[in-house]
């Protein structure tokens, strides 16, 4: 049992298809209207059928009032961290502190290279992500008076002017699956954001948590400094014994068990169906919060 005690956040994971941009923006507003806390978008800049994630996030932030916005997750090889840091801080300032930063090391290297990015080995990609996080946090730190010198082989700043700082203490959530990335999450990140589909099973959550917790403690942090997020998908329908294939009440029970058991406190639903999004917000959410509150006693 590892519950880190974070408050629950429910979010939506929308496909940023560019064929009908108004539909994507409409779904984001719908997610806000039905009461979700967070709207996220995948970031695959090499995919010509998708809207540019950063542009879409900025646009959605401008036409919403309350909901938080993040990428799920940014493709760091095509989003130079110094630029991303300033863009994220700017949007956080514009939106009144509603932006969080989802980061990934990159996976589809042929496509990344085709777009002008540099192909990295898995090990280099992890190192680049770590340098990227240092660059981003350094640029945001306007309390430091000196110019910023940080980074390494992949992202290097030598005397950069700092700022702007975000409006709020922006979280850095990292999409990670393998041990090297998980250890980086434990050392440096504010959140772990895997997809259940890629993890394969709930057991993998326990294994990942253990690696992150150990790395966090090793770096002088506490395990609860790292929020545990999870992208999930499923179907609403008649009750069944399968995970997230049943009634909203059943979803709530299953997710509450994951929170109590594995400490996941943010569930992000991969769905572009307005009815599913509404059920998730209005029926799963309240029941889940009640169950978790009761379980935490």
């Amino acid at each position: 049992m590892t519950d880190y005690g974070h408050d629950l956040i429910l979010g939506s994971f929308l496909t940023p298809t560019n064929a009908d941009p108004a539909a994507v923006v409409g779904l984001a507003r719908h997610a806000e209207d039905v009461g979700l806390d967070l709207v996220t978008f995948q970031d695959h800049p090499y995919q010509p059928a998708f809207l540019d994630a950063w542009t879409l996030m900025s646009y959605v932030a401008a036409v919403t009032e309350r909901v938080r916005i993040a990428a799920n997750v940014h493709n760091l090889p095509l989003r130079p961290p110094a630029v991303l840091a300033r863009a994220a801080a700017s949007l956080d300032l514009l939106s009144g502190g509603r932006v969080e930063l989802g980061l990934g090391a990159g996976a589809f290297w042929d496509a990344i290279e085709a777009m002008g990015g540099t192909r990295l080995t898995p090990g280099q990609a992890v190192a680049a992500l770590e340098e990227g996080i240092d660059v981003i946090r350094g640029l945001w730190d306007t309390t430091a008076r000196d110019r910023l010198v940080t980074g390494g082989d992949h992202h290097h700043l030598d005397g950069a002017k700092r700022g702007p700082a975000p409006a709020h203490d922006m979280a850095i959530w990292v999409g990670a699956l393998k041990p090297r990335m998980l250890r980086l999450v434990g050392r440096k990140a504010d959140g772990w954001l895997p997809s259940l589909g890629y993890l394969g099973s709930l057991d993998a959550l326990a294994a990942g948590n253990a690696v992150i917790d150990e790395a966090a403690v090793g770096a002088g942090r506490r395990p609860e400094d790292v929020r545990r997020l999870l992208n999930v998908g499923g179907r609403f329908g008649p009750p069944s014994d399968r995970f997230l294939q049943g009634s909203p009440a059943q979803w709530a029970e299953q997710l509450a068990a994951v929170t109590i058991e594995h400490g996941v406190s943010t569930y992000i639903l991969a769905s572009d169906d307005p009815t599913e999004i509404e059920l998730f917000a209005t029926e799963v959410g309240p029941a889940l919060r009640d169950l978790v509150a009761a379980g935490r006693g």
Binding site: N18, A19, D20, P21, V25, P45, Y46, Q47, P48, A49, L51, D52, W54, T55, L56, S58, Y59, A61, A62, V63, L78, R79, P80, V83, R86, A87, A89, S90, L91, L93, L94, E113, A114, M115, G116, G117, G163, P164
Partner: protein, 701 residues
């Protein structure tokens, strides 16, 4: 070219917002004051700020200060995305050592018509096989600052910074003109933008000289002072516009659009582009938005010109002119057609998509007027609140005009008849350029031909349709075991024929996946509200084979014909065959089963007809096969495989439904129209389209 280039004069404001509140306030102020362009610079990330601004303003165009984007390919996608999100209103300005590479990358990624992935081996920006697209829909000008030779050669405009007094010498007119000409461009293709500091002096005289003597057309005032921005907009701008307008009128300066090199190079032979009727909206292969218009639902296309009339009168002008061009001519309403070539390669497409109005003419008669370019899903949406519906096809994305002039075998076929049976009158554009109204009493022969063979005799721009009262309906989807396909078809056919007319059912199956049980889906609409009656109607269908799954519910018509939007991206040519059969008897069922077993048709659909369809006399409309009980459609991937197998099925057919037929063999015309119908149709064709302008969809002439 020194002197005035005749471009429309635009005024901009450059802002460097220090914080979020200032950014939005500055943008709103600029928009309210009538500025055309907002240039965003400063500490906050300009792209983020201008996206935010675009989302919260209505009219003003936004551009980030000239920059060298960190990843040019990502910048291309970002700009195209904002163009789509904000409906245009975005521009791109490049500068620095990488601007040549960045320009090549951005232009290359936006060129959806080019074949193969993009490779740009630049020293500053390199892409190595990136997928192209999307293109901005509105055309995004790319400015280049700091390199007038590059701007003249390749960009849409040159961006500079001058002081109004004496600024003439700072505009590199000779370099711009020389580079443009050397690259085969008209110097007028390259617009000129200057950023000017605000000063205490009245700038109108100096700015007018920049426009009239140095070809500048966008003037951006650089000031953080809201009061100066207001004074410039309220005092200087009107005086400047007035002075420029008067001077242009006096000098007779050409101010029309320029045929750019890009546009010219993509034109096709055989089309006299210069003779297109003035005022008509056209989209050429070199124009933004072409990628969304070139293809249809089922066909890839590369027309040389798309004409998009905004009224029947314009459609008439367009058709009359298109008839003088010796290239293929496609008529498009929604672009779903199988038989009609509503796109082509190098020809003209008359696209009726802008004629999409839906208006109620008479509540008592439930009479509605619908533009030919509307989609049936939109019609269903518009009529549902009134408790009305017009039977259409099985998909909401289908356009009104094509379906309502060919037949229209939809979800209320047995209860309401064909879509053409709901047509009371039509506004028709004739190849001679006239616009006429056809009804039972006006051009009755034309009205007869329009209902079943409309594509032969005219271009319908709107239809007056009699809607039926339709409220809550029953909707069912049954998944049935199809391991005995012939038996399944026979029993389903018999059950449908035995059912009351309030039931209409479609059956869908196709080549089965290896190792999986063969299944068929039976869909049915029951035009009653009572759930018990609905279940009674569906039960006989569920009994024709083992039932594997079912979904039965109360629905509305718009839920059944879901509106399909978005541009089409068909590729290649569809291969489909159609047969109209009276009954699904043993011969038909056996031939169909053989076809299915052969794995030739991944999509095999049968729609019930009969009922109200058969109430209309065969000679009453050009759709003559009223006695047919079923419309059978097969889509294949190979014509040489589909045709022989289908011919064996078709031997038992009464005829075919032309909207689903793609077989080019001449005997198909006799299948579509029985002899008496064909003879009358040829007579009508001779009178209304004597020159055979309409020849790309089952021509009878």
């Amino acid at each position: 070219m020194s002197g005035d280039l005749g471009h429309p004069l635009r005024l901009g404001l450059r802002v460097t917002p220090p914080d979020a509140a200032t950014a939005l306030a500055a943008a709103r102020t600029a928009e309210r004051l009538g500025y055309d362009l907002l240039v965003v610079a400063g500490l906050l990330d300009p792209w983020t700020v201008l996206t935010w601004v675009a989302a919260r303003t209505e009219r003003i165009t936004v551009v980030a200060e000239p920059h060298d984007p960190p990843v040019a390919a990502v910048a291309a996608r970002a700009v195209a995305s904002l163009d789509r999100l904000a409906g245009g209103r975005v521009e791109l300005a490049l500068t620095g050592a990488g601007s040549r590479d960045a320009l090549a990358v951005v232009r290359g990624l936006w060129d959806e018509a080019a074949t193969g992935p993009l490779v740009v081996a630049g020293a500053h920006h390199a892409v190595r096989g990136a997928e192209r697209g999307p293109a901005p829909t509105q055309g995004v000008p790319i400015w280049v600052a700091g390199d007038p030779a590059l701007a003249g050669r390749e960009a849409d405009g040159w961006w500079g910074r001058v002081v109004p007094a004496g600024g003439l010498d700072d505009v590199p007119t000779a370099t711009l003109d020389g580079a443009a000409r050397a690259a085969g461009r008209d110097p007028r293709e390259v617009r000129r933008l200057v950023v000017v500091p605000a000063s205490g002096e009245d700038p109108v005289e100096d700015l007018a000289r920049l426009v009239l003597d140095a070809g500048v057309s966008t003037i951006v005032l650089d000031t953080p002072d809201a009061d100066q921005a207001r004074r410039f907009a309220e005092e200087s701008a009107p005086a400047l516009r007035d002075r420029v307008a008067r001077r242009r009128a006096a000098a007779g300066t050409a101010t029309g659009p320029v045929v750019t090199r890009h546009r010219r190079e993509r034109r096709r032979s055989g089309i006299d582009y210069d003779a297109v009727p003035a005022g008509l909206t056209v989209v050429e292969p070199g124009d933004p938005g072409y990628g969304r218009l070139r293809s249809t639902y089922l066909r890839g296309g590369a027309p040389g010109l798309v004409l998009r009339p905004g009224s029947a009168v314009e459609a008439a002008e367009a058709l009359a002119w298109a008839g003088t061009q010796d290239v293929p001519l496609g008529i498009r309403s929604g672009g779903h057609g199988f038989s009609g070539r509503s796109t082509n390669d190098g020809g003209i497409v008359l696209d009726l998509g802008r004629l999409a109005g839906i208006e109620v003419l008479d509540e008592g008669e439930r009479l509605v007027r619908v533009g030919a370019g509307a989609r049936w899903g939109e019609v269903a949406d518009a009529l549902a609140p009134l408790g009305w519906a017009v039977t259409s096809g099985d998909s909401g994305g289908v356009g009104v005009g094509g379906l309502a002039t060919a037949g229209g075998i939809g979800w209320f076929a047995r209860s309401h008849g064909l879509t053409i049976d709901r047509v009371r009158a039509a506004e028709v554009v004739l190849p001679n350029g006239s616009v006429v109204r056809a009804s039972a009493t006006e051009h009755p022969d034309l009205f007869w031909a329009l209902r079943g063979a409309g594509a032969n005799v005219g271009v319908v721009t709107s239809l007056d349709l009699a809607a039926a009262e339709v409220g809550t309906i029953g909707w069912g989807r049954l998944v049935l075991d199809a391991s005995d396909p012939a038996g399944l078809l026979r029993r389903w056919g018999a059950a449908v024929e035995a059912a009351p007319r309030d039931l209409t059912s479609f059956l869908l199956t196709g080549a089965q996946r290896r190792g999986e049980p063969a299944t068929a889906q039976v869909f049915a609409v029951v035009d009653v509200e009572d759930p018990d009656v609905i279940v009674d109607r569906l039960q006989p269908l569920a009994d024709v084979a083992p039932l594997l799954a079912q979904d039965v519910r109360l629905a509305t018509y718009p839920e059944v014909v879901v509106p399909g939007g978005g541009p089409h991206a068909g590729r290649g040519e569809p291969v489909s065959r159609s047969s109209l059969v009276d009954h699904l008897d043993q011969d038909v069922a056996d031939a169909a089963a053989a076809l299915l077993r052969g794995g030739i048709t991944p999509f095999f659909q049968i729609r019930s007809v009969g009922g109200a369809v058969a109430d209309v006399a065969p000679e009453a409309t050009a759709y003559a096969h009223r006695a047919a009980g079923f419309s059978v459609l097969g889509i294949g991937s190979s014509r040489s495989r589909l045709d022989p197998a289908w011919d064996r099925l078709h031997a038992h057919a009464r005829g075919l439904y032309l909207s689903f037929e793609t077989d080019p063999r001449p005997e198909r015309l006799q299948d579509a129209f029985p002899p008496a119908t064909l003879a009358r149709l040829r007579d009508v064709k001779r009178r209304y389209d004597p020159a055979g302008v309409l020849r790309d969809n089952f021509p009878v002439g």
